[in-house]
């Protein structure tokens, strides 16, 4: 099963990070892929999504510890720090909670391409977002 996110993915080889069965539905994990922190979510419908782990509003690497959900049907992840809500499909911020992103950060998440092959979750990094 493969889920492709709409973010711009570099044409690189994918990196295996863990077994699909290691992921608990709706509970994110963080992974280190070529030194970049990625937050990976397996949703209740079986799909897997990967976004930058860095929360652009706090500057902390915590997105994997946020709460998943949906906004009008679109799958979302909420930051555990100041509760901004982002789309898991394209990374745009759906609720800024009246805050500005931290200095030097864009107010959205980079979405990484993710696929599941032979029971392994594989990530292909998109353009890096921010420091």
């Amino acid at each position: 099963m493969t889920t492709t996110a709409s973010g711009v993915a570099r044409d690189t080889t994918t990196v295996a990070v863990c077994a699909y069965d290691r992921l608990t539905p709706e509970l994110g994990v963080a992974a280190l892929v070529d030194g970049v922190q990625v937050a990976i979510f397996r949703l209740a419908d079986g799909s897997v999504h990967a976004v930058q782990n860095l929360d652009p509003f706090s500057g902390a690497s915590v997105m994997s510890r946020g709460i998943t959900g949906d906004k009008a049907g679109e799958p979302t992840i909420a930051s555990p720090i100041y509760k901004q809500v982002f789309s898991l499909l394209d990374g745009r911020c759906l609720a800024t909670m009246d805050k500005e992103p931290a200095a030097g950060h864009e107010g959205r998440l980079t979405v990484h391409r993710v696929c599941v092959e032979d029971g392994q979750v594989r990530i292909a990094l998109a353009e890096p977002a921010g420091p």
Binding site: T24, E26, G66, G104
Partner: protein
């Protein structure tokens, strides 16, 4: 622009305050300057709330309105300036210090004095009246002194069984004295209630421990051998031993200045005014209790305020006239509700009386209606005055439907739903009509109660009309198409309280079942933690159990408090703030080993900051192995029970506050709730634990414990209110059990106890009747739920340490479990570390990288 004219107000009471406030609010051009001559050495205060002076309120807390009024350049307040003469020809007032004040217009607002009948011995030490802060302070001082001198409970008596007499009886009780009310008439509050109401009232008052003697005339107050008050001699039936006597036999207008300056006085005193509050002299008005308006003086605040507003309006060129006094009153005396309004004694020809009496419950209600039973004329409510706010504005209107609906206990049959006419008065303290409240919504765009209160002033004095204000506002918002939504989020259309019941009744235990049955979509960061909390409250299962972890909010998710850089703080429980030296050493050792920043929390425990996700289990293993447990500092749950050192060590403590705090903390630890809550226990009335700033505050008395509820710090600080007094340990646990259970079941998401208590229909009184008198019949259920909670408690952290599956959630990276987050950076400050700021990161002044702190025990 005309020259500023000078108004002198003689008197510094509540009505003088209202006059000044209204003048400054309405005289926007600054046409008038106001000088207030107050006899008392303080600014006007809330005399109606005088009794609350005994429940710990300080004189300054009785202040009226915004104190900046007295700093207005056009307002001068002269304290300790009793006016002694007025020269109408020269238009000047002279005070007791000989200072003169010229006036263009004079406002007499001298109020009343407490009148006592010429009883022999009424000049003995130990005889008091009940009118001013000084009276009340003197009474307090005397009672305390006598208790010390006599070495026993002081025996008090109040002569007069009216409203003020019952207030005074309550005050005596509050001071720890016994009290007997001696009433000349055949019933208590004979001006407000009829015979049936009087009987119910006597029973209710006697239940509070106050003795009542009606039909009794006091002939003499006799001295003891030292010349203090010693006993009361009654005209007919013997004598009673007393140590202190309070006269509450009515008030008389302080009209002596009016008499001296030759103004006409009423038959029973008072300066005669017309419907515009003007005296015979067009340069002099009289307002409040000193004014004899429409033939009588009125000793109530609402008509006094109305007169103040009329006087201001007239001076500014308005045409308002006194509409007649609304003598309606709703009072709470010694915890007993009494209300009387309109033609309470059915004096209208042909009037019909509908009565309902339940002597067991101590309730008496009467409605007076017109001869065709359609128009409400008045009524009396004793014991349960919940219908007052709805009924009083209906006086003169059709009652609609079956009026019996208003008499039977709430919910017995449906109460008629009547829309109030615009001109119906809703807030009598501030004279706000139903139309004004509607206007606040339709014209001024108010959408919540706070907005309507600020806009109209409705409900800002006594607050008794607030339920009605809220209802009118809700109806108006609905009409305007503004939905008063209490939906939790886009996935659940119901409020948290409704969802709680739904989950409880359906017995569903998983989020997916619950959202499928009661909601839509997949949930979000609002409804998921709410349901996680509801399930935890109901079943007390582990927050990280099977499919629960994904529901938990940031902190509950890993059972630690996330800080700004994504690391966590760790707080083990220190029940009641009592800690073993070895635990102190252990905490210090862990903090050193892991390089954690340590700080004492506001809840008497120790917080260790900067622990990374993957370090939490090993830190907790050391804590749990040494016998410490989760402090739930991360939970919407019980946080701490703060205590003072109590009677074991303290020279003043009267009870073991530490022991009680520990018992309470161990009892409620882990109870998940809509918001965090805290308790406090003080070992004596000095209140060193600041318990009244807590959700539940317990304060030791020499007879047991007083329990206060609904205190909050935070954004909107609130002092906790008295729930029960002088209770023993078992009762204390029972009422707190039930209070907390009712709160966790019915509060809104993230609603703390203070606003919950305020919003709860009927307020704290209603809550008290639910949890003390079991008025809803749910106490057994609440008790069983709390028992279940206490019995099923387990330490969450110990449970996780024993579960390899749950431990997996505490890894930094799924493909590099032990690799610390490389983005963490710290600098040193005052010998400890703190997260580096963005500029410190960029200019390279970061001193500490996380990997260097990697220490494993």
């Amino acid at each position: 622009m005309a020259q500023t004219k000078q108004i002198v107000v003689v008197g510094g009471g509540m009505v003088a305050h209202r006059f000044t406030e209204a003048m400054r609010a309405r005289d926007t051009e600054g046409r008038f300057a106001v000088t207030v001559l107050a006899e008392e050495p303080r600014a006007p205060y809330d005399r109606v709330a005088l009794t609350s002076y005994f429940t710990g309120r300080k004189p300054e807390e009785l202040a009226l309105g915004d104190p900046s009024l007295w700093e207005d350049p056009l307002v001068t307040l002269e304290r300790d300036a009793k006016a002694v003469s007025v020269d109408r020809a020269a238009r000047t007032v002279t005070d007791a210090h000989g200072r003169t004040y010229p006036y263009d217009h004079l406002v007499m607002a001298t109020g009343s004095y407490a009148w006592s009948p010429p009883v022999k011995g009424s000049d003995l030490p130990g005889v008091f009246v009940y009118r001013t802060i000084d009276d009340v302070a003197a009474l307090r001082g005397y009672v305390q002194q006598r208790r010390r001198d006599l070495g026993r409970t002081v025996r008090g008596a109040v002569i007069g069984g009216g409203l003020l007499g019952l207030e005074a009886a309550g005050a005596l009780q509050e001071l720890g004295a016994t009290s007997t009310v001696v009433q000349f008439a055949d019933r208590l509050m004979n001006l407000q209630v009829d015979e049936g109401g009087g009987q119910a009232l006597s029973r209710l008052i006697e239940n509070t421990g106050v003795k009542v003697r009606c039909n009794t005339a006091t002939e003499e107050i006799r001295a003891d051998k030292h010349g203090h008050v010693g006993s009361l001699k009654f005209a007919e039936q013997g004598e009673q031993l007393v140590d202190v006597v309070v006269f509450a036999t009515g008030v008389r207008p302080r009209d002596e200045l009016g008499r001296d300056m030759g103004l006409p006085l009423g038959e029973r005193g008072g300066i005669v005014v017309d419907d515009t509050c003007l005296t015979e002299d067009p340069a002099i008005s009289a307002i409040g209790e000193v004014a004899c308006i429409q033939g009588s003086c009125i000793g109530l605040i609402a008509p006094g305020n109305t007169m103040a507003e009329i006087a201001v309006d007239r001076l500014l060129g308005g045409v308002s006239t006194f509409p007649g006094a609304d003598t309606a009153a709703k009072l709470k005396l010694l915890g007993v509700d009494v209300a009387s309004f309109g033609d309470a004694f059915a004096t209208t020809p042909g009037a019909l009386e509908l009565t309902y009496a339940d002597p067991v419950a101590g309730v008496y209600k009467k409605l007076v209606v017109s001869d065709d039973a359609r128009t409400l004329l008045g009524g009396i409510l004793v014991g349960d005055a919940s219908a007052y706010a709805s009924l009083r504005p209906l006086v003169g209107s059709e009652v609609g439907g079956d009026p019996a609906g208003w008499l039977l206990p709430e919910g017995a049959i449906e109460r008629p739903n009547v829309e109030l006419p615009d001109e119906a008065g809703v807030c009598s303290c501030n004279n706000v009509s139903a139309g004004a409240i509607r206007g606040a919504v339709t014209e001024h765009g108010c959408t919540d109660l706070a907005g309507v209160k600020a806009c109209t002033k409705a409900g800002t004095s006594c607050g008794s009309c607030l339920p009605l204000v809220k209802k009118i506002m809700g109806t108006e918002l609905e009409k305007a198409g503004i939905e008063v939504s209490n939906a939790l989020c886009e996935h659940f259309a119901m409020s948290r309280a409704q969802l709680f019941s739904a989950v409880q009744v359906s017995e569903l235990r998983t989020f997916s079942e619950i959202i499928e049955r009661f909601g839509t979509g997949r949930g979000c960061d609002l409804c998921k933690p709410a349901i996680g909390s509801i399930l935890a409250t109901l079943y007390n299962e582990h927050v990280l159990a099977a499919d629960r972890a994904a529901l938990q909010d940031t902190n509950d998710r890993v059972m630690a408090n996330m800080q700004k850089d994504g690391t966590y703080s760790v707080v083990p429980r220190v029940p009641g703030g009592e800690i073993l030296p070895e635990h102190l050493i252990l905490i210090g050792q862990i903090a050193q080993d892991y390089g954690l920043y340590t700080k004492i929390t506001g809840g008497q425990r120790i917080d260790m900051f900067g622990a990374r996700l993957e370090q939490l289990p090993s830190i907790w293993k050391r804590l749990v192995d040494a016998g410490m447990e989760s402090g739930h500092a991360y939970g919407k749950s019980l946080r701490t029970v703060k205590s003072c050192v109590g009677s074991d060590w303290c020279r003043y403590g009267v009870q073991d506050s530490v022991g009680m705090a520990i018992a309470l903390e161990l009892r409620y630890r882990g109870l998940r709730s809509p918001h965090k809550f805290k308790l406090g226990v003080s070992g004596c009335a000095r209140e060193c634990a600041e318990a009244r700033g807590k959700d539940v505050g317990v304060i030791a008395t020499d007879k047991g414990w007083n329990v206060y509820v609904g205190g909050n710090g935070g954004f909107t600080p609130k002092h906790a209110q008295l729930l029960v007094e002088d209770v023993d340990d078992a009762t204390l646990f029972k009422v707190i059990d039930r209070y907390l259970m009712l709160y966790v079941r019915t509060a809104d998401r993230l609603q703390r106890t203070a606003p919950w208590q305020e919003d709860y229909e009927g307020g704290l009184d209603a809550i008290r009747s639910v949890i003390v008198d079991d008025s809803l019949g749910i106490c057994a259920d609440l008790d069983a739920h709390m028992a279940r909670h206490i019995n099923s408690y387990e330490d969450e952290w110990a449970a996780v340490l024993n579960d390899p599956e749950r431990l997996k959630q505490f890894t930094a990276f799924v493909n590099a479990p032990e690799q610390p987050d490389p983005t963490l950076a710290y600098v040193e400050q005052r010998g400890q570390r703190r997260p580096a700021t963005a500029s410190e990161r960029s200019d390279g002044s970061v001193l500490i990288a996380p990997a260097t702190l990697e220490v494993r025990s």
